[in-house]
Amino acid sequence: MRRLALLMALGALAACGGGDGWVTVLDPSYRPEILGGEADGFAAPDGLLWHDGALYMADEGGSAVRVWRPGGPVRTLAGADAGFESPEDLARDSAGNLYVTDDDAGGVRRIDARGRVTLLAGDVASTEAIAIAPDGTLLVGDQAGRRILLVAPDGRVRVLVGAGAGIAKPESFAFDGRGNLYIADNRDDVLYLLTPEGRLHRPVAGRRGFAPESIVHAGGALFITDSRHGALYRYSPEDGLGAIALFAGDLANVQGVAADAEGNLYLSVQADLEGGRGYVLRLTRRR
């Protein structure tokens, strides 16, 4: 019976070609499932943020910011009419404002609790990573300038880390519980660590087959997507880097990552960015 199932799986895989995907789970404590695709309104998302039972998405392919609550439909918070072209990543402050970067339109767009959109730092041409520091400061990755910027609530910009530090593309940020900032650089394929004292370290660098895309810190570990190699990693200073899952075919281009309070992980996949086609996956933590 097992052999028959294997034959059917192999036959289906071989016969389908192009449109399908594959997930290999190397950490058996996770089980993957598809939450939805473009037909469910997920389009081709990039950055993800889980907050208070809702998944916020920077829908790069659909030029919009969307939110989804389990059991409900996907809702659009703001779209192209608010100036979004290629929303990349998002962060949320304690007042309920959502901040979104955009690597084509540039700047940072703030969506307040009533849905009003305000442009901050509009002279920054291409923005990527974004995070709110423990003290409430907004940090933004400036792709063209290869810098990390501090953006004040009134939109004034100050440089935190300049181009001389060597970060080629600040793609994603995540704070750990000690105030350290992790930085994913997916041009030089380096994971940086900026300490509260301002020292910049390279915990993972020059590792063949590793190109960090998006990062999130949860449960004492950093979770890292790698869109170039179709992989999801876990990193901690104690245990180093280990793979959780590998992705192939339609699911290979894993982009954003978020974690909920139960330790479940959410991943965005861009199957066809131009065509606005993608998926959102959940890797449920087995108890």
């Binding site: 192999l10 036959g11 290999t24």
Partner: protein, 269 residues
């Protein structure tokens, strides 16, 4: 049916039979590892057969006709690389060693748990390191997909080209290609038999297309190249050596060079 037209049952049975010899003997696994990764063992006899076909004094075909066939064969290899790469990116077929882990297939918008493939790992060599690296999540960009086999396409095209030029050398090249270069790739879990069959079909088709395209008067420039090669035997031998070495590495140096150029272009202001 599999993507190559090989029935899934036959594909699996052939894989299990070849992979079944792995993991039993350290000596045999070492030989398989050599055939997989040592360029001299993997491709040396095929390259030697090529040179034999090029320089042999006594053969059924005259030397200029043989050399014309062999040059067209080398040209076909240049076209095979992008074709197999494009196909492997558009047809999903995970490598056998990948299917030995817990996998989920995307079907009709949902992930279905797939049964695992029984798989023996070679006890030594880079292939073992590759499997261990995969389990740690260190994978190359194109390491997950396998259809069609670029090695099969390259080596079958090369060996068949040698066979067209010189039967005796071609028979040795074909036998080595099938029994050593390709069979070990299935045995070690790098490829399914269907990948090999598809790759071989692509290689043979591309070779036939190039030989037909440059037949008769359309291949006059090849005759000119052959005459030039006859006048400059030393540089010709050196260039052929380099071309065959690159072919043995399935154009990896060329690919790396293109990637480097693209990366440098991407860094230009």
């Amino acid at each position: 049916m599999s993507a190559a037209g090989l029935p899934a049952g036959l594909n699996l049975a052939l894989f299990e039979a070849l992979n079944g010899v792995v993991g039993r003997s350290w000596a045999l696994d070492s030989l398989i590892a050599l055939a997989l990764d040592n360029v001299l063992v993997k491709a040396g006899p095929v390259g030697a057969a090529f040179f034999y076909a090029w320089y042999a004094r006594r053969a059924r075909r005259p030397a200029p006709a043989r050399r014309r066939i062999l040059l067209a064969t080398l040209l076909s290899l240049l076209l095979i690389a992008p074709l197999t790469k494009t196909l492997s990116q558009s047809i999903l077929s995970p490598r056998p060693f990948l299917l030995a882990e817990q996998g989920y297939a995307l079907q009709d918008g949902a992930l279905a748990e797939a049964p695992r493939v029984g798989f023996h790992t070679v006890q030594t060599g880079p292939m073992r390191q590759r499997v261990e690296a995969m389990r740690e999540g260190r994978v190359e960009g194109n390491d997950l997909v396998t259809f069609p086999s670029d090695h099969a396409a390259f080596f079958v095209a090369l060996s068949l080209g040698i066979w067209l030029a010189c039967r005796r050398a071609g028979a040795i090249a074909l036998a080595w290609t099938l029994l050593v270069t390709l069979a070990t790739r299935v045995a070690a879990g790098m490829h399914w038999p269907a990948d090999i069959v598809a790759g071989a079909a692509i290689g043979a088709a591309m070779l036939a297309a190039l030989q037909l395209a440059f037949a008769g008067r359309r291949g006059r420039w090849l005759d000119a190249l052959v005459r030039l090669a006859g006048r400059w035997p030393g540089p010709t031998a050196a260039l052929l050596f380099l071309a065959l070495l690159e072919a043995a590495n399935v154009m990896q140096t060329l690919k790396a060079g293109l990637e480097l150029a693209a990366a440098m272009a991407g860094r230009l202001p």
